[in-house]
Amino acid sequence: MAKLILSTGNIVSGGPSIVRKPGASNLELINSLKVSFQDAQIDYADEIENTTASPTTTTATNGTSNGVHEVQATNGANTTTSTTVTPGPLYWTEKTQNDTTETIFVPRIDWESASLSEERSQYDITVKIFFLPTTSPDVSARAAYTQEALGLVLKELGGISDVDLLVVSFPGMSFDGDCEWEADKLNAAQGDDEVEIATWQGAVEKLYTQGKVKRLGISEFGTEKLSRFIKRVGVKPAVDQINIKNCCNVPPPLAKLAKEQNVELLVHSDCTDILPEGTLRELLGPQGAGLLADPKVDGSQALSGNLTPQWVVKYTAVVKNRGVIENKGYFAGAELN
């Protein structure tokens, strides 16, 4: 099994991908991943000729040469890391291997340049993790995903140690419908309370108690779900993100509950199924970034296997007293079997 880590880099000055499209959408993620892949392919184009047909191991160099990208242990998480050549179609990616897992960064990430321009205290940093319909419901797996996703964000933002808000998005939830009252009712039967509560208790709350996250939030919880949720969890969410067509029509029961429970109702425009399996395959497949092998072509050096998206994380760093978004981007994790 290999693990893929997809990343967009900072998209805030990345051009048109940021332009809003009406309604909830994953276009920002998909478009910025595309741009990120294209850019990396251009950036590392000079290494194509140096890549060799079969993976070899080298210890001769530091940095990059002969298509070898040497990788430092990431953030103390992995203790042993080996250095691997990235073969042909993968020249713009980066592979790391520890005892158990092979991780492929798509594209390569130049961690050296990861930073915030001012000190941590100047920023309001929000992270939103999306569990997907394809995400394993297993709590320990989800805890690992959350750890990993948050770890990547902390590293990407220059090795900071905490974030201000972590919002958790669960699959199968929405606030859809022409009438917000109706949507609130429908919402009550959506998702899976048991899995959500178990995830929260087993994978999320400890980040709060450990001080890695100052506030916790959830997404798309209507009145009934929110009230059931609050009754059972240890650390109450401080935020509920809702996506409603006309933001003026908050269902009054939800507004009331939020007020009573001290839950801030924030708006968002993400869709919950932010990275469907098929979309990911298209992105990385022969018609996309060319990372996944075309089954019709024999002997491809590209990756093959079954690709399952496991999580997506969005992060935003806003300079507090100036309202300027300095950094915004996504990571996504997928498993290749």
Binding site: G9, N10, V12, S13, G14, G15, P16, I18, V19, R20, V35, D39, I42, D43, Y44, I109, D110, E112, S113, A114, S115, S117, E118, Q122, D124, T126, L165, V239, I242, I244, N246, C247, C248, N249, V250, P252, A255, K256, K259, E264, L265, L266, V267, H268, S269, T316, V318, V319, N321, R322, G323, V324, I325, E326, N327, K328
Partner: protein
Amino acid sequence: MLTLYQQLLEIWNKAKGKERDAMLWGDEIEYLVVNYSKDDPKVLLSLRQADILKALADSKTLKVEGDCAPGTEANGEAGNVTLPVFHPEFGRFMLEATPGKPWGIDFKDLLTVEADMKLRRCIAKDHMLPNEHPITLTTFPRIGSPGVFTEPSYPVSGPKLRSQFVPDEIANPHIRFPTLAANIRSRRGRKVQVNVPVYRDENTPWPWKDPTVNYDLQNWPEDDDVRNGAAPDNFIHMDAMAFGMGSCCLQITFQAKNITEGRKMYDQLSPLGPILLALTAATPVYKGFLADTDVRWNQISRAVDDRTPEELGEKPLKNDRWRIPKSRYASNSTYISTDSRLRPEYMDPNLVIDPEIKQQLLDGGMDDRLATHFAHLFIRDPIVIFNEDLQELDLTKTDHFENIQSTNWQHMRFKPPPADNSIGWRVEFRPMEIQITDFENAAFSVFIVLITRAILSFDLNFYIPIVKVDENMETAHARNANLEKKFWFRKNPFPVRTTRRGGSASRSASGASTPSGGLSRPATPPLGPVEDEYRLMSVNEVINGTAYAKATSKEVTEDAEEGEEFPGLIPLVESYLDSVNMDVATRCGLARYLDLIRKRASGELWTAAKWIREFIAKHPEYKKDSVVSEEITKDLVGAVIQIGEREKRGLGIDDLIGQVPDLDKLFGNFLKGKSPCGGALKDYEAALGQESKDDEVKVNGVKRKFNEDE
């Protein structure tokens, strides 16, 4: 004169390293004060500015009571009110009000702006006579018309203004103002000439000769002006500073993080100026006649144009140093940012600078672009200088520099910190016309604030050549320019994506104080001809984006070719809002503002200029001869007062619909008692118990000085 640059260098040296100032901003609302009662056949301008200001100053705490008391609509949150500040203005019939402390960027703050504006209006009204009202029309329709138009009334043709239309007493009697007017007149060697094309209606005699011009007056040498052709056919002729400087504007001042960010904002907001001027158009009447233009800008420009015949190019240069293509009040002539995207081709090829001053500034260590900017401002003579300033110059004071700076009225202003460095580098956005209601004024103010945040966050690029911005400024004057004209605008506002490979290309988002050391991508496209970077767009397309404009434009077709779609300022702002944490009620309130602007830009709603034109056209007294009579003026002002009264009290304008024509065209569903949004918002807030966090913004002693100037 030499001391000027020394003073500037002193300011610059002291403040150039100033860093990390918070985003603070302030608005300025200017009012006309009118004397109106139902029973009086005439509406008059009140000249009691001094008394009103005194009353405001005397009531020690500006006691907030009655209509304006805490808890009423005009006030909002109880006990949490910073009292506004009132200022004199050039016109003695004017008043200016600014918030008691600058606004921050807490998004909830943005929604208190409207309430604060209402409070200002309310307090102002409370300190006036029962028949006096503060209104926010840009100009008084019959200022300078024959007969009585002020209260009290004075004879025209005084020694200071020497105007045959307005008395000297029209100006604020503080020595500064009449001196300013007299200096301009004496420098020009004649009176100012403010000529506006008259609107030709069915019964307008043609050629049209301004019937109010007196060709026989012999009181002053300047009375010869009209005999020497100062009043051409088909133009409404005006001859005094009051016709321009008596206009009300909506100006916004922003504090930047540092000088670099300030310079960037100055440049990036500059091309937006003409668009916002056209979109806020509110000035279709002058001196009792319908004009063929919709905005105030050029009239103010001409009303303070102190250029001599030599400077104007009418005579060969002999005594003066240079020919000057623009008035002191005009669109910007410089870009000043250190942005690498600023191409030399964008600069004004006709820029006039004082080379000696520029050299002094360069010698003092200032960079070329900024030195050029100030050396350009300094081509103007100081037109108001008090004797005491000349005798002793204190380098720790900025008054002298401020004097030149504040009598250069360009559509953007770059403001260095004051002597005590208590405020940061600021940029003022000056082109917008004041709107009839505070809802609209708040909407436009907040919109500009949000645009600046989108510009800085997304590193947007709106550069087009300055000559094109000038051209746009002229275009913005046309009747219905908002819907019928097109403006030069940059096709692609996005930055070229920088790569991270091999080093820190991580961008310092707000005014790069850290140099971007990243390798630029080898594939960075070479720059094409500047002409390929921009094209003509309607206001609708600039504001709402190509797709929306194509779907909604009736008057014009969009030129966008495949791949040239412009995203639109509102979608860019919405993208920004989508990326920050915002509570539902705040987002709803902001959406309401964006909605107003979207509809004004698409033509779904009318500008104030259009509404006023239609009001006049439909008035039974109107004879289709371009004449805006006293009775029409009275009814127009009366309608505006009624709208204002209702807004102030938090009542809808529903009962006025039908009584006052076309209010639905001006406001749509806004300002109705129970608008779908406003109503729900109130319910929502009620559910929340009107909670308001007291997020005191650190103001560093910044109070009234923040956006103080002309």
